[in-house]
Structures are given as structure tokens and as C-alpha cells.
């Protein structure tokens, strides 16, 4: 029996997924095969696994639970500066960890703004350190991402459906049942899985905000196995465990069928008629102000501490900035080359393997990927010479799950809507891609590319393992400056990094929405 005809061959997608899997599992295998001794997992390692699971689950739950009302408010309000706010809300996600920690502490720390305000009333300073601190920090990092993913779900409900709902006089409950709940059922599991996977491989944030060795995560245990014990076998074992946990979480979250979606619309201007009463308006205002303050205040702290240093940055910072822009550009291209075929294959067939392949990239320990690549590259080429390309590749793989979350639902809708028409017109392969997929997915591709560029710009990634003194990306340079007591220059460089990341994100994200209603 002939297979169901599809406008695009899924082969490229399966190829890309295989490549990603090979990179992650191949590097893991390379590390495992280099292991000499190994003492297996200790009780402390299992404690790390337990803590990692708890903090990642809580972080995912809180991030997504808060993201739903914030996204809902942003979806039904139009106000001046809304798109700037949405762009800015993405900033915490792309900050280098060390900068974000200092920004968070400037607001929530013992000597932070909140504690100072409390002191005015004679109250004790805030204690941020502990499990709640870890969750707070992870919500700070991931609330923007979860909000964007869920907001996108709202934006994918065609204007016609809102018109219909308005016509039916649907109140809040009916809106919820008719449109919002089914959309959330589609979007929320994926958002949970992504945030969970991100938090699973957290290390410095969890340790610092967790207040001590109680907050040891698997990634820290991997780090310890590597550089403290030089026990590659244990490092590989822990990294494998991390991958299995992610795959399990992804299977749990994503195995539920995604439902029918909302069908097609005619690209009409989106107008909303619901939520016009005072209560709904104040509720939305509350959530927008809450998210704005929570996310932007630490950012403001980063900007304020960076301003004095930004005008007198050393030349190496500028060359590092140039390297970062290069890496980010390459990384974005690689990401799109991997993510688009994978998303299209997922949209035309079984999505789960693609989603899992994508999430593995996120859960894989950068340390293990980096070391594995080092072991693989070392016999044939100088790892130093390949520092930037390898960083671009690894950063692209890390951004893959986000890109898939963004692209797969939209690809599914495009294929469902236009498959038959395209097939009767013999639009297959490139013409379908160019004339249908790319124009229909402009907004999603722009968003994914912007996210990838910004992430790659801000991520330390594997470059620390490979870089020689002449080659540094901006995040690495920030660390190097701090390590040399150059705190002011480091703060200035961090501000530059923030501006570059946000700029890259804004350009690509706006580019995708050109001529389209945001």
C-alpha cells in the first residue's frame, strides 16, 4: 500500500534528529569509553538526583503556573510599549548565569532593594537562600520563556474563533472552555517539559541560591566527577541518568494527544471583545505589572551596575563581542537547518521522537558534550582551532528544544491546512517550503531564530573547555574579567552582552513579524 502522500519528505528531519542524537550520545559514549576506574554512584550522587528532580519539578510548575495568567493578560491587552515589554521580558533567559545571579541578588539578596525596603519598616532582611531561592531564580529565568510559549498559543487561535466567541456572548467561563482550556492543554505540557529540562541541568544557580551543598544538582555531581575525582565513568553515568530523566519527563508530558487545534483562519486582524470589564482589566494590569517588576528589576540592577564600566571597555571585550556575534549568527543558521526539517517531519508524522531528540540537547551536560567532543576531535584536529564552530554547533543543539516547541504546532497547522491544495498543485519539496512553509511560519521562525541567537550570545556553552586566550566569547570574557578582579569592566561587558543579545532577539523576532500583527 502506498504511503500517505506528503508535500515534504521527512527524511531530512529524521537525518537532523539522528545527527543531534549522534552528537549527544556519541559524546557521551566517547566519555564513557575513556573511563578507567569508576566507583558507581554514591549516596551523595543519589541525593543530588533527588534534589535535582524536586527543584526542576517545582521550578517547572511555578514557572508555567505564573506564565498562564501573565500570557493571558498580555494576549488580551493592547497598550503602548507592549511589544517592547514582551521583548524585554525575554532578557533574563539569555543572561549569563553569573550576571543574572548578581542582578537577582541586587533585588532579592540580604543587602538587596527589597531587604532595604523592609529595613525601613524595621523588618528582617529577606532570606533568598534555600529551595525557595532556587525556584525563585529558575522562575526568573524561565517565566519569560514559558510566557512566550503560552502567549504564542493564544496568538495561534485564529481571529475568527474570537469573533465567534464574542458573537456567542461568551463570558470568562465560556471563553475558558471554548478556547483557552483546549489551547492550554496543547501548549502547557510542552512548556512544562522544556522548563523541567532546563532546570534539570542547572548548576551554579541552584548551588548559589540553594545556599550550600544541600542544593547539589546532577550537573554539579558531573562537574565533581570530572575535575575533582577525574572519574569519567561516573560522569558519563550521571549524564546518562540526566538524559533518561529528561526523556521520561518528555514522554510523560508530550505523549498526550495534542487535539485538533483550532483550524484555519484567513489572517484577519486579531481583535478581542472579551475581558472589557473593570475586574478583568485590573486583574490583567496586576499580572503585567507583577511580571514586569519581577523580571525587569534585576535587569535594571544589571544595567545600573554596568553603566559606569561600559564606556571604558578594554579592546578584548570588543573582539570577544565580535566573536560572540559570529558564533550567534552561525548558531542560528545551524539551528534553523536542524529545527525546520525536524519540525516539519514531526508535523507530518510522529512528533515524539523529534521532541525527545530535541530535549536531549537541553538536558545533556555541556561538560560531557564538550569533553566528548574534545576526545573525538583531539586525535584529528586541534580542538582550539575548532573552538568557535564547536561552540556554535553545541549552542544550536541547546536551543533546539525551544525552536521545536515554537515551530512544531505551527508546522502542524500549516501542513494540515495546505497539504492537499499543495499536493494537487504539485508543490512539493522546495516550492512548498519556500512558498508556503516559510511565509506561513515567518513569525515562528523569527521568534525561534531570535531566541537561538540570543541564547547563543549569552551562553558560556562549551567554549570554556576549548578556548585559548585569543579566542573568547563575550560571556567567557565576563568570567575572565571577574576572575581578574575587573568587576567594573565585567559589569560593563555584561551590559554590552545584554544589549547585543536583546538586539539580536529583537531584530530577528521583529523581522519575522514584519507586516504581520504582533
Amino acid at each position: 500500500m502506498a504511503r500517505r502522500a506528503q508535500p515534504l519528505s521527512p527524511a531530512a528531519g529524521y537525518g537532523a534528529a539522528a545527527l543531534v542524537a549522534a552528537l549527544i550520545l556519541g559524546t557521551l559514549a566517547a566519555v564513557a569509553f575513556n573511563a578507567e576506574t569508576g566507583r558507581g554512584l554514591s549516596a551523595a550522587d543519589w541525593a543530588a538526583v533527588r534534589f535535582t528532580l524536586i527543584q526542576a519539578s517545582l521550578s517547572a510548575l511555578f514557572s508555567v503556573a505564573l506564565a498562564v495568567p501573565v500570557a493571558r493578560s498580555l494576549a488580551r491587552r493592547r497598550f503602548k510599549g507592549r511589544s517592547v515589554l514582551i521583548t524585554l521580558l525575554g532578557a533574563p533567559f539569555i543572561l549569563p548565569v553569573i550576571v543574572a545571579i548578581l542582578g537577582l541578588l541586587a533585588v532579592f539578596g540580604r543587602a538587596g532593594w527589597v531587604s532595604e525596603a523592609l529595613a525601613l519598616f524595621g523588618l528582617e532582611p529577606l532570606s533568598i537562600y534555600g529551595l525557595h531561592g532556587v525556584v525563585l531564580a529558575h522562575v526568573f529565568f524561565n517565566l519569560p520563556l514559558a510566557t512566550r510559549l503560552i502567549l504564542q498559543g493564544w496568538q495561534e487561535i485564529p481571529a475568527e474563533r474570537f469573533r465567534l466567541a464574542a458573537q456567542l456572548g461568551a463570558g470568562p467561563r465560556a471563553m475558558w472552555q471554548l478556547l483557552e482550556a483546549p489551547m492550554l492543554a496543547r501548549v502547557v505540557p510542552g512548556a512544562l517539559a522544556v522548563v523541567f529540562a532546563i532546570c534539570l541541568s542547572s548548576f551554579a544557580v541552584a548551588l548559589t541560591l540553594g545556599g550550600g551543598p544541600r542544593a547539589t544538582t546532577i550537573e554539579l555531581a558531573i562537574f565533581q566527577a570530572f575535575s575533582f575525582d577525574f572519574d569519567l565513568g561516573r560522569a558519563a553515568l550521571l549524564s546518562g541518568l540526566q538524559l533518561v530523566l529528561t526523556a521520561l519527563a518528555a514522554t510523560l508530558a508530550l505523549r498526550t494527544p495534542v487535539g485538533e487545534g483550532f483550524g484555519s483562519g484567513l489572517d484577519r486582524m486579531l481583535r478581542r471583545w472579551d475581558g472589557q470589564n473593570t475586574f478583568a482589566q485590573s486583574l490583567d494590569t496586576f499580572w503585567i505589572v507583577f511580571a514586569g517588576l519581577f523580571l525587569l528589576l534585576p535587569l535594571l540592577a544589571v544595567v545600573l551596575s554596568g553603566l559606569p564600566g561600559v564606556l571604558s571597555l578594554p579592546a578584548t571585550v570588543w573582539s570577544a563581542a565580535f566573536a560572540s556575534v559570529l558564533v550567534a549568527s552561525a548558531s542560528t543558521l545551524i539551528l534553523l537547518a536542524l529545527a525546520l526539517p525536524m519540525a516539519l517531519a514531526a508535523a507530518q508524522g510522529r512528533p515524539l521522537p523529534m521532541e525527545i531528540a530535541g530535549l536531549l540537547g537541553l538536558a545533556a551536560s555541556p561538560l560531557v558534550i564538550g569533553t566528548g567532543l574534545f576526545i573525538l576531535i583531539y586525535p584529528v584536529a586541534s580542538p582550539f582551532a575548532l573552538a568557535l564552530p564547536v561552540t556554535a554547533l553545541v549552542n544550536a543543539v541547546m536551543a533546539l528544544p525551544f525552536a521545536l516547541r515554537i515551530l512544531v504546532p505551527a508546522c502542524r497547522d500549516v501542513v494540515a491546512r495546505h497539504r492537499k491544495l499543495a499536493l494537487t498543485l504539485d508543490m512539493r519539496g522546495w516550492p512548498f517550503l519556500r512558498r508556503v512553509v516559510l511565509p506561513r511560519l515567518r513569525a515562528q521562525i523569527g521568534f525561534a531564530a531570535g531566541l537561538a541567537a540570543a541564547l547563543s550570545m549569552g551562553d558560556l556553552g562549551v567554549i570554556a573547555l576549548f578556548a585559548d586566550p585569543e579566542v573568547a566569547t563575550l560571556p567567557l570574557q565576563v568570567y575572565r574579567l571577574m576572575g581578574a578582579y575587573q568587576m567594573q569592566a565585567a559589569a560593563g561587558a555584561a551590559l554590552l552582552l545584554l544589549v547585543l543579545s536583546m538586539g539580536a532577539f529583537w531584530i530577528l523576532d521583529r523581522g519575522g513579524r514584519w507586516h504581520a500583527e504582533a
Binding site: 553569573i98 539578596g109 545556599g211 550550600g212 570554556a464 585559548d468 575572565r480
Partner: protein, 325 residues
């Protein structure tokens, strides 16, 4: 005819280029940074060696050793610079290092007799605080006070490991009780020195684990006398940073020459104001102005390399146990 002369010239030139020997030294990142000793060391050594000195940064000290172990016999490195006494036992056990032939009159607070590793600088771990703050004089007083400190994780940071050894060397079997007492003073534990020091400068804690020489940086580079190091009655644990020659080096003579250069004035005079540590051999010109203001511990603590390696895992378990409660 002309062509062959030209060709010969070209060949000669490239041969001459190839004859310039290259010495590859792996070190930690901050050594090679613009503010570290790297640039000055490279210029000074290349002046005397007729060679090309290539300094390669590879993370921190622990990552450096991991890197060398991964590369094994095939490594391009001729010399590894930047291990400390917590790592030398493991480094020696790898069998990748060769004995050195360096002789020097070290100005270390302890006797140095290692035949494989050559020390190039040293320092004391200490808690750094704002000069105007009242601070405790030993660990027990610290534990009894409500002074807040930020420390680094021994699993991911050199000072963190140094503190672990400090408490162990000073208190032995009593160490768990000390950690127990300190647990409510510790604001948090960070991955590396930079996070902790940054947090301290932001006012997040009263003291941060660093070096006795840290105030010298603020004083000399920033003309800021507001930072001091607290002197602890138990004595202070030392960090001695060393370099070693790899057995598989294809430039063994040059490597020896570098190690000998390392303990000479030319190298040693660079160290204090770039690496912010004490030089292993005090240069003829003495220490830079400002170093005389630093505290000098009455007692220097340092576990011998083998002992340090032997007690490390147990000390880590004690630390984790006390701070996880």
C-alpha cells in the same frame, strides 16, 4: 636562474621559521588573561629563549589536570603551569610528568623538596572583609558570631578546597564540629571565586573566602584601602602554585629552561601585581609597595601533597554532611 634563487630563499625562510622551537605551556585562564602574568611572561621569556612561547589557557587548575589526563602522551603541552599542592599527588600518579632539574633559593614559609614540581608563587587563604568592620579572630569565634560569610564549593573551586583543607589541617577530627558551627554563618556556597567575590562586593556578606593578598589588589590597582584580610589564630592554609614538565615533551631542554626561568627575577617580579600572589623567590627589588600592609599569619598550614590527597574525600564528606543539615 632567478626563480631557483627565489625558491631557495623561500625554502630557507620557511626552514628558519620551522627551526624556531615552540614551547607550549598549558595554564589556567586567568594566567593568560590581559590582566594576568601571561603577556609579560611571554615577552620576557621569548627575549632570552630564541623560541616561541605559546601559553594556552584551559579553565582552572582542576580542569587543567583533567585536560592533561585526557590528552595523555599525545599532548602538545611541554609544561603545565598552575597546579597546586592539592593536585600534585594526582598529577604525579598520572605518570605524565618528568622530574625537573631546577635549583632555587625559595622564599616559601615551608621547605620545598619536590623533585617533579617547581613552585612559582604562593599565598594564604583568608577571609576578606571591609576594613572598618569588626571581625572574629578564629574559626570558633566566627562560628559564635553572627558574621555572614560566602565561601566556594570545594568540588568546583580552588579556594573552596583550600578552606576545606584549612579547617582539616587546623582541627583534624574536630573539623565536623567546626563546620557545624559555621553552617549558620555561611550565606551560601558558590561555584567559583568570581561569584563569591562579586557577592561580597555587592554587600551580600560580611566576609568572603579569598587570599590575604586580595586587599593588595584594591590598594595597588584601585588605590582603595577599604579591604582587609582577617587574621586567624589557628594559622592560615597555604596555596603553593607549581609547574611541571611533561615526560612526553618534544622540547625537554626548552622546558627545563622555562622552569629555571620561572624562578628567576624576570618571571618572579611579574607575579605580585598580576597574579596577586607572593613570588616563590622574592625578586632583588623586593615586593611592590603595598604588600607590606598585608597580614602575615603567625602559622602557615599546609598538608603535604600525599596527605592532602588522602584526607580529601573524607573531609569533603564531613563538609557536606555538616552543611546539608
Amino acid at each position: 636562474m632567478k626563480y631557483s634563487v627565489f625558491a631557495a630563499g623561500l625554502l630557507g625562510a620557511s626552514a628558519a621559521l620551522a627551526e624556531t622551537p615552540e614551547l607550549t605551556v598549558y595554564t589556567y585562564d586567568s594566567f593568560v588573561s590581559d590582566w594576568g602574568p601571561g603577556p609579560a611572561v611571554e615577552a620576557a621569556f621569548e627575549e632570552v629563549c630564541g623560541c616561541d612561547l605559546k601559553l594556552v589557557g584551559a579553565g582552572d587548575g582542576a580542569a587543567l589536570l583533567a585536560r592533561i589526563k585526557l590528552e595523555g602522551d599525545r599532548s602538545d603541552a611541554d609544561v603545565v603551569l598552575g597546579l597546586d599542592t592539592n593536585l600534585t599527588a594526582a598529577a604525579r600518579d598520572s605518570g605524565l610528568f618528568a622530574p625537573h632539574s631546577v635549583t632555587a633559593d625559595y622564599d616559601l614559609p615551608i621547605a620545598w623538596g619536590d623533585d617533579t614540581f617547581v613552585p612559582y608563587d604562593w599565598g594564604y587563604f583568608a577571609f576578606v572583609h571591609n576594613a572598618d568592620a569588626a571581625v572574629p579572630g578564629d574559626f570558633k569565634a566566627l562560628a559564635a558570631s553572627d558574621t555572614k560569610i560566602v565561601i566556594q564549593d570545594p568540588r568546583s573551586s580552588t579556594p573552596g578546597l583550600g578552606l576545606l583543607m584549612w579547617v582539616k589541617a587546623a582541627y583534624g577530627d574536630e573539623a565536623p564540629a567546626i563546620w557545624d558551627g559555621l553552617s549558620d554563618n555561611i550565606v551560601t556556597v558558590t561555584k567559583g571565586w568570581s561569584e563569591a567575590y562579586g557577592m561580597f562586593l555587592e554587600g551580600e556578606a560580611d566576609m568572603v573566602l579569598s587570599y590575604t593578598t586580595s586587599p593588595a589588589y584594591h590598594l595597588i590597582a584601585e588605590e582603595d584601602a577599604s579591604k582587609s584580610a582577617a587574621s586567624f589564630a589557628e594559622g592560615h592554609y597555604m596555596q603553593v602554585e607549581v609547574a611541571g614538565k611533561l615526560a612526553a615533551s618534544d622540547q625537554p631542554e626548552l622546558a627545563d629552561q622555562f622552569l629555571q626561568f620561572m624562578v628567576s627575577d624576570a618571571f618572579q617580579s611579574i607575579i605580585p601585581t598580576t597574579n596577586w600572589m607572593y613570588p616563590a623567590v622574592t625578586p632583588a627589588g623586593g615586593l611592590p609597595k603595598g604588600f607590606e600592609t598585608l597580614i602575615t599569619p603567625e602559622k602557615s598550614l599546609l598538608l603535604p601533597a600525599d596527605e592532602a590527597a588522602a584526607v580529601r574525600d573524607a573531609a569533603l564528606d564531613e563538609w557536606r554532611g555538616a552543611l546539608s543539615r
